[in-house]
């Protein structure tokens, strides 16, 4: 039996059940993710990409099925309990950091992800030294701005910081929810390269939702395409490397009508 870091077995999530707006965001959805996998996830609006991440992270309660992380059944876990395994970067740069708190305080909170928080001093001297070192990787000069509020940073800086925060306490699972969608193209590609480096260096098991098909093909070792809450395409390895955007469009253009195509 292969060693799975994450397994979803027949997970179903229905929004607005019993009303006219009923929507099956996840429909008997199953996915097995091996340790070290870097999976990109694409699909049109409403295909269930974000619901999938929400279900794994525990922010959305599923209706049916089972979610296993690190050999533990986490189906009923709350989001703050999932923090033990999962680290998440949201689409909006403001969502992943506390804007009124300082850079070093944000880093400290991230370092304590999923751990017990006691009445010990938060940003200790040794932690501050470590943060200074770690921040140099970003090459944004943030190591000189430890005591500044995060709200003063630009979107790209803030998202880079959020990414760095996820690796302070390497998670079992990294969830990236269109985390470059709110950035300008140049910053987006910088943040993506940073993502790739961090994922490789820390050998993080990663799920990355993206609207950009080029990104979905360029990064990761496996790509999953969702449609109406199910997996429509699942390719990996060499097969994925050979695939081109044109081929996907030719094959699935019918179901990928929206900005996924526009951003090719």
């Amino acid at each position: 039996m292969a060693e799975y870091m994450l397994a979803l077995n027949g997970v179903t999530k229905i929004f607005n059940k019993g009303t006219q707006d009923e929507k099956r965001a996840l429909d008997n959805f199953s996915l097995e993710v091996e340790k070290g996998d870097f999976i990109t996830i694409i699909g049109s609006n409403g295909a269930g990409k974000t619901t999938l991440l929400n279900a794994i992270a525990g922010t959305v309660e599923t209706d049916q099925g089972q979610i296993i992380v690190n050999d533990q059944d986490v189906t009923k876990w709350h989001d703050f309990q999932m923090a033990r395994f999962v680290s998440r970067v949201f689409q909006s740069p403001t969502m992943g950091t506390a804007g009124e708190m300082t850079i070093e305080e944000n880093l400290c909170m991230a370092e304590l992800r999923g751990k017990r928080r006691g009445l010990k001093w938060g940003v200790t001297k040794s932690r501050r030294l470590r943060y200074k070192e770690v921040l140099k990787v970003l090459d944004l000069g943030l190591e000189e701005r430890l005591k500044q509020a995060v709200g003063l940073l630009s979107g790209g800086q803030r998202q880079s910081l959020t990414l760095l925060m996820t690796t302070l306490a390497p998670p079992k699972l990294l969830l990236l929810d269109e985390h470059t969608a709110a950035l300008d193209p140049r910053t987006a590609s910088k943040v993506l390269d940073l993502t790739d480096t961090m994922v490789r260096e820390n050998r993080l098991t990663t799920l990355m939702v993206t609207h950009n098909m080029n990104h979905a093909l360029k990064y990761g070792n496996r790509m999953v395409m969702l449609h109406q809450g199910r997996i429509q395409l699942d390719i990996q390895g060499d097969e994925k490397k050979k695939l081109t955007v044109a081929e996907i469009v030719a094959k699935f253009g019918q179901t990928l009508k929206d900005e996924t195509l526009l951003s090719c």
């Binding site: 703050f80 923090a83 506390a98 992800r113 928080r117 938060g122």
Partner: protein, 295 residues
């Protein structure tokens, strides 16, 4: 003119605990907690009743403080567990406490004039009680301010601050924000009840109506304090709350000296708060408005 300084200092420092408690909920947790109008007299009621029944003043004051914690924690449960709107949760608790306070006291007012209180030793000194009382309240206010400053820089305290700043983010980092909110409300109201217990002993009685308008007065203090000391850090925020409380009491004393009737105080304070909150809205400064968290 000069003789309003001691009384403003004494009251300002005593009520600084209330302002600190309100700063903790409104500003740090971004939770507009109205329990204060009930937890302040709760502290007075518990302390007065226990002292009246013969308990020593220190233990009585500590128990009163603990009672405030419970009240605040319950407001938190109403809001987080029962999903009651935060303003309504506070109003419900405030209303419940009115009956509770009457039950505790057994009547509307308990005099403490002939009872030993925390202030009895200061009154037996061979001097005016003004100075020792002012120093006493100054020490209490500083200790509380310092304790909050430290607490909000601990690992747990960072999570508490993030609960008010970006709840979704800190949940994803593993903080049970409901629990943090409940605890923060408990600490806030413990401080408010401590203020109630101390002020009841200082003035020589506890009255069931002594909490009316406490939130508005506290908010006025915070607004004044923040106008004078920009609250860019936690240390400055708590300083602004405590200092604002002293300035507020000074302004009130000045107003009364100039002919303001005591019965008009709440009108004056309320109008003051409305104006302070209205200015950024009228000027159309949306960002400034966002900074007034919890209001």
């Amino acid at each position: 003119m000069l003789n309003i300084i001691p009384i403003s200092l004494e009251q300002g420092l005593a009520y600084a605990l209330v302002a600190l408690g309100i700063a903790l909920t409104f500003r740090v947790l971004a939770f507009p907690d109205l329990t204060v109008d009930g937890s302040f007299p709760l502290g007075g009621a518990v302390a007065a009743r226990l002292i009246f029944d013969g308990m020593d003043p220190v233990t009585s004051t500590l128990i009163a403080t603990a009672a405030g914690f419970v009240a605040g924690y319950l407001t938190g449960i109403f809001a987080t567990k029962f999903k009651i709107n935060s303003l309504l949760a506070g109003i419900l608790m405030m209303t419940i406490l009115y009956s509770v306070n009457l039950r505790i006291m057994g009547r509307a007012n308990i005099p403490l004039l002939n009872q030993p209180t925390l202030f009895t030793p200061m009154e037996s000194l061979n001097m005016s009680r003004d100075l020792p009382v002012i120093i006493f309240f100054l020490v209490i206010a500083l200790v509380c301010k310092f304790a909050i400053d430290v607490f909000l820089h601990t690992e747990y305290g960072l999570g508490l601050r993030a609960t008010g700043d970006n709840e979704e983010m800190i949940r994803s980092l593993g903080v049970n924000t409901d629990a943090a909110t409940n605890f923060g409300l408990g600490v806030s109201n413990a401080m408010v009840a401590l203020a109630g217990a101390l002020i009841a002993q200082d003035q020589g009685f506890s009255d069931v109506g002594m909490g009316i308008g406490m939130i508005v007065a506290g908010l006025a203090s915070i607004i004044i304090g923040e106008a004078l000391i920009k609250p860019t850090t936690v240390v400055r925020l708590t300083l602004a709350a405590a200092f604002g409380s002293v300035v507020y009491r000074f302004i009130i004393a000045l107003g009364m000296r100039m002919g303001l009737a005591p019965t008009d105080l709440k009108l004056a304070t309320g109008v003051m708060v409305v104006i302070a909150l209205a200015i950024p809205a009228i000027r159309g400064q949306r960002e400034k408005k966002l900074n007034l968290r919890g209001m």
